[in-house]
Every structure is written in C-alpha cells, then in structure tokens.
C-alpha cells in the first residue's frame, strides 16, 4: 500500500511539475492577427464592471470620463489605486495573473516590454481615435515592435526646470537660463543671496534620475542610448558617470535644500510654491501636484517652466504612467470590448469633458485646450517638439538608477558604485529580454 502511495504522490508531483513549468501568464495568444472590433461609444453595458488601476498621482485623472461613461452606458467603472512603487506593484500582480481591464502605464518600449505586452495587452491598432490626434502625436509613443499598445491621453511629460517667478524677480533675474553654465550661474547667485536654489526629494527617491537625464540630453541626441543598448558604451563610461558625478558635486556644493535626504514629493511642491526653493528639476506630474495646491491664476503668476540641457534649452521627454492607458487581455471578450469602448469614449465624445475637467492640453485639433490651462503647461507642451527621449524612452531596459542615486544622496554610495550597479542591472534586464550583446 505504502509503495502505491509513494508512486501516486510521485506521479502527481511530476505531472504538476510538467504542467506548471511554463509561464502562468502565457495566454492562448490566438488573438494575434484578427483585428479587434471597436464597439460604438454608447453601446449598452448594463451589468458590466470595469476596473482601472491607477497610481497615487493619477487616480483622479479618470473621474470625469468615468462619470460620463457610466451615465452613457450603464457600466460600472472602478478606479483602484495601486500604491507606489506603482510599476513594480503592477508587474508583480500581472505576473501572478491578476490584471485589471485598463491601467495607467508608461507607454515606452522598455515598460511595455516589462509587461510582456504581446501576451498581456490588447493591441490598439486601427483604433477609431487615431485620426483625431493633432499632427505628429499619434505615433510619438506607445508602440512596441510596430504594434500600438498604449493610448495617449495627455501631453507626454517633459523633464525640465520648474521655477518660482517671484523668487527670480525678487533676486533680479530677468533672463531665463539658456544653457547649463547660465543655469548654474543663476543658482550660485541665488545661493550667494541666501536663497536655496534647488529642491530635491531624497526620501521619495524617483526624481533623482531627472538630473541625470537632463545632463545627458545632448549625449542622448548623439545616440548615447543606442550605444548603451548594444553594450558598446556603459553607465560606468565617462559620459553617464560624469553626469552622476556632476549631480553629486552640485549637492556637495550646497545648491540643494538642506533636508534633501528626508524631503518628499509633497514637500517639493510646497517648497517651490512658497518660494523656499527657486527651482526644481521635475516632470509634468509635478505640476499636477502644484495644481492640487493652488489655482491656475496663482500658478500662472508664480510658476514658470524652461527646458534645460548642457548645451541649451533642450527638454527630455518621458511619457509617464499618467499620460497613457493600456488595455489588458483579461480573457473575458465582453469586458475586453468594453475596455476598448471606454478608451474610444475617452478619446472620443468624452475627450472635451476630460480636457476641461483636468485643465490639460488637448491632443486633438477638434478639442480646444481650455483657456485656463496654466502657461507653464503650454510651455512644457511647446518644448515637446524639440525634446529628446529619456533613458526610459530610448534604452531597451529601465534599471532602477533612481534608487542607487537616492542612496548616493543619502551618502551611502559613490557615483562609481551607482554607475556600476545600474550597469549590472541594465545588463541583467537586457539579457532577460534577449537583447543581443548581453
């Protein structure tokens, strides 16, 4: 009897082992070639519940659209906030087979790869809203290997300098810096007069990488990331390591806030608004944070934006998760169609309401940008044409450079160690993706 039992157990174990030894998220993949049907925006969806995953800084974005859609179709839409670190949380959930109908997602190739887009995401090719985009915006981002997976809803973020106009005026700075040297001159002049020039959020980690991206903008135009992608150039080589060293030297010089190690994203917004700091290198979502704290008139009066790079005013563009949505292959055909319907509505009849509610720049010629959109945002959008892609946009993998940089801010890592760790991780991710040369 005992022997039978052993055999049975062994057979069961081996059987399970064999059955289980494939990616649990690997779906049927049969829907590859056939074009998706695009339901009309007002198709009745009574009894359908859709889930949207959003981050802490994007969970209010869908409010107006969701309300409009629920009223139009009878569907129920639930917006679920996934705590930060958002991308990591989602990747973990998706890997274990848990997926929403829609989610905010950074529409860059590296991040679409990270979600295994061909397996997990609905292709959005031939979507009804594509033709409504203003010139050049339809294919700016959101595709992977020629297939569109993400729907861009707002103007992609640009990394640059947000500054307090009142502080600039108070210290007699009339000209906006035109390159890195004048930028640092302004900062040093402010410091000499007892004003904190820059504000960084060491505690919340993620903004630390913007300084490096901005410092690498010219090199990026020069094909830096293509070279990094093939292993020809490394993070430890002079270009990127130099940028990291420059960032550290600026901190050592005392150009940043004193509480750089413990300051948070929220503190950063408060500090710039209050004029405690003159400048912040940030992305567009930072402006969203400011909008939560002040109205447009005040922001127009106080806050300005200019792009910066070593050689001039080149911005670094980085679409973030609040700019786009992806639709998941949940396996439930009705809900998948409903998700596409919601996107169609979002970028269709609902778009004008959405743009008005969010006070944001319209991506469609047919929908006017509200007059109330603060000037700084218009400046950001205007700099988009000239800007160059960030690491996330141009590199094949997205290592956690910001974590190592934050460690450097805390004083526990040297620039060399940051570069080495980032390079190791980049190679590891690139190899996992099957990139040649790693």
């Amino acid at each position: 009897m005992k022997k039978y039992l052993t055999i049975t157990t062994a057979v069961v174990a081996v059987g399970l082992l064999a059955a289980g030894c494939s990616d649990p998220t690997a779906g049927g993949g049969g829907a590859g070639g056939e074009p998706a049907a695009w339901p009309a925006q007002d198709t009745d969806l009574d009894g359908t519940t859709l889930t949207i995953w959003a981050a802490q800084n994007s969970n209010t974005v869908p409010e107006a659209v969701v309300a409009g859609f629920e009223e139009l179709t009878g569907a129920e839409v639930e917006v679920v906030t996934i705590p930060d670190p958002y991308e990591q949380g989602i990747q973990t959930k998706v890997a274990t087979g848990d997926m929403p109908d829609l989610a905010f997602w950074q529409p860059t190739a590296s991040m679409l790869t990270a979600l295994n887009a061909p397996t997990n995401l609905q292709p959005l090719d031939g979507a009804p809203w594509v033709d409504s985009y203003s010139d050049g915006l339809a294919d700016i981002t959101g595709s992977l290997d020629g297939t569109q997976y993400a729907a861009l809803i707002t103007s992609p973020a640009v990394e640059g300098v947000y500054y307090n106009k009142e502080v600039f005026a108070e210290h007699g700075i009339a000209e906006i810096p035109t390159d890195w040297n004048t930028f640092l001159e302004v900062a040093r002049a402010l410091k000499a007069e007892g004003q904190t020039p820059f504000y960084e959020m060491g505690e919340d980690l993620w903004a630390t990488q913007w300084w490096i991206h901005v410092l690498l903008a010219d090199a990026a135009k020069d094909g830096l990331w293509e070279r990094v992608n093939t292993g020809e150039e490394k993070f430890t080589d002079p270009t990127i390591l130099g940028a990291i060293e420059t960032y550290e030297s600026l901190i050592d010089e005392g150009l940043f806030n004193e509480d750089i190690k413990t300051a948070t994203f929220e503190d950063q917004g408060d500090a710039l608004l209050a004029g405690d700091a003159a400048m912040v290198v940030q992305v567009t979502s930072f402006f969203g944070q400011l909008q939560a704290k002040a109205d447009s008139a005040e922001l127009d009066e106080k806050i300005g934006f200019f792009p910066i790079s070593p050689s001039g005013n080149v911005g670094t563009f980085i679409p973030d998760q609040s700019n786009a949505l992806v639709a998941f292959k949940t396996g439930d055909a009705d809900r998948e169609a409903a998700a596409r319907q919601l996107l169609t509505y979002w970028l269709g009849d609902g778009y004008a309401d959405f743009v008005a509610d969010r006070d944001t720049i319209s991506l469609q010629d047919g929908v006017p940008t509200p007059d109330s959109v603060p000037q700084a945002l218009l400046d950001v959008h205007a700099s988009l044409g000239e800007s160059v892609g960030s690491m996330q946009v141009l590199a094949v993998a997205n290592p956690d450079m910001y974590i190592s940089l934050a460690d450097m801010v805390q004083g526990t890592m040297t620039p060399e160690e940051v570069a080495q760790e980032t390079q190791d991780q980049f190679a590891q991710l690139a190899r996992a993706q099957g990139v040649e040369g790693f």
């Binding site: 039978y4 039992l5 069961v12 990747q91 505690e203 190690k261 956690d400 460690d407 760790e421």
Partner: protein, 307 residues
C-alpha cells in the same frame, strides 16, 4: 525526527489484532492529505529550485534553462550579501528584543489577578493585528512631524524633529523594535505557559533555603524555562529572517536601502520582471534559514537536556 522503530518491528512480528486494527484505516485514506501537502508545499518548494535555474521573466513567455548563472550573478553583485547581512542583523535584534520583552511581560503578569488578565489581552492584541497596519501606524507615529516627536516636544519643552525612520544606522533597530513590539505578546504567552509548569514545591524549597527572588529566577526558573526559550528564540529568529511586511510598511527598505531585508529585495527584483533571479534569491534565503535553524535549535535543545 520520530523514532522509526515501531513500524520496523511491526513488519517482523505482526500481531493479528494490531493488524486488523490498522487495516480498518486503509493507507489510501491518506491520499487527500498528501495531495494537499503536495500541491501546496512540495510542488512550490520544488518549483523554487527549478525556476532558480531558468531565465523566467516577465519579458517573454518561454522559459529556458540557464544553469547556475543566476546564482553566479547574485554572488558577484554585492547587493545580495548586503541584504543578507541586514536580514541577519535584523533577525538577531528581533530575537533578542522580542524575548526580552516577552519574558519581562510574563514575569510581570505572572499572577492571575484580574488586572493582569486584562493586561495580557492588551499585550496580545498586536499579535493578531495586521502587520501592515502596524507598520503604517508606526510610520505615521515616527514621521519627523509625527506623534512621537510631538510628545517628546511637549515633554522637553522644545520642538523635536528626529527622523526616526530616516537614519542609515539606527532605523534598522527601530524597525526591529516595532517587529518585536508586535510579536512580544506571543512570546509572553509562551513564557507564561512555561512559568506555570514550574512546580511550586521547587520554588518553595528554594525560598526555605533562603534564595532571593533573583537567585530563584536565575538558578531555577530561567533554566526551567528552556523549552519555552527554545521555541521563542527559534520562531522569532526564523520568523524575522522571513520578515517583509513591517519593514515594507514603515520604511520600504529605506533610507538608502539600510533596512532592505532580503524579502524586500526579492519583491523589488520580482517587480522588475526578473522572476528567475527573485526565485534564486528566495532559494538563497531558504538555504540560509535552514543553515541557521539547525545549529540554533540544536544548541537550545542541548540546554533542555539537563531538565
């Protein structure tokens, strides 16, 4: 390990009565239990070994065999060793604090008065609370502008802004204290049970011989608590080696990854889509826990032998 003697002897000298008795419960009745055990314990453990040798990731659907490459990568990068060191320090701190607090509470609340019974319940409540909730509550209390600093400020009469969770050296100790605070109620309960088993005669004899209460504790009660100590130290040490929730909720591994326990590192790696690497790390953790558990438990068991 239970002694294997009974089954061996049974095979040789089976007595009919025993045999009939056994036969009334056929071994196949064990199949459901083994199936559950297999699906939920054996298979995942085996997978932990299997996936560690593959290149399973979120980037593609195929899974290929890569041998020991993941392990080589991990050993060559310093992050694993750093995390492992942090985890070990954390585990030792938790084991010390949790047992110290638990033992003190047990001694304090030993007598069965009404107040003591109430206090025991109060100290046990954190044990049944969600660890994440505990973590978030302490995170709020220990913020630079949180309750802890406000209270200190009132007591000292000046503004206090100590970043309790922002120090690269001491935050690990703070998190270990929170972990111990949550679990000290359990240690207390086990020590209380241990104290109850000590015969009153022995203590009375000690008193008659003129032993002070400290001597009685040091030479009689504490040695007799050995089984409780074994259990408490082993569970605290090994439980905190697998710690994640409290550290994640209070610091998320920060500042500067000085509280990044191995499980947080694993979580982060998994989140990047490097599933195989994350699996390899959890395998390393498994091996370390086993390597630590055996000598610790053996040493503590040795203490019990004199009883």
């Amino acid at each position: 390990m239970p002694p294997a003697r009974p089954s061996a002897s049974r095979r040789r000298t089976v007595r009919p009565t025993t045999y009939r008795h056994r036969a009334s419960h056929p071994a196949r009745y064990l199949i459901p239990a083994f199936a559950v055990l297999g699906v939920f314990f054996f298979v995942p453990t085996i997978f932990n070994f299997v996936y560690a040798l593959t290149d399973w990731s979120s980037f593609k659907s195929e899974i290929g065999f890569v041998g020991l490459r993941n392990l080589e990568d991990l050993v060559s990068s310093g992050t694993l060793l750093t995390s492992l060191r942090i985890t070990l320090v954390y585990a030792v701190l938790v084991a010390v604090f949790q047992n110290l607090f638990g033992l003190l509470l047990a001694l304090l609340l030993e007598r069965d008065t009404r107040i003591n019974r109430f206090a025991r319940v109060m100290f046990f409540i954190p044990v049944v609370m969600s660890a994440l909730a505990v973590g978030y509550v302490f995170q709020a209390i220990l913020k630079p502008d949180g309750a802890a600093n406000s209270i200190l400020g009132v007591v000292l009469g000046q503004e206090v802004t100590i970043p309790w969770l922002g120090d690269t050296t001491w935050t690990l100790v703070v998190v270990a204290l929170i972990h111990s605070w949550k679990w000290m109620g359990l240690s207390m309960l086990i020590y209380l049970a241990g104290l109850k088993t000590i015969s009153e005669d022995v203590l009375e004899a000690a008193r008659l011989d003129g032993a002070s209460s400290w001597t009685a504790f040091r030479d009689i009660r504490f040695p007799l608590l050995a089984p409780a100590l074994t259990f408490n130290v082993a569970t605290a040490l090994l439980g905190s080696m697998n710690g994640f929730d409290i550290a994640q909720a209070t610091t998320g591994g920060g500042p500067a990854r000085t509280t990044e326990l191995l499980n947080i590192f694993i979580f982060r790696t998994f989140g990047q889509g490097l599933f195989a690497q994350a699996t390899t790390m959890s395998l390393v953790l498994f091996v370390v826990v086993v390597a630590l558990a055996l000598p610790v438990i053996r040493t503590l068991r040795k203490r019990e032998e004199v009883l």
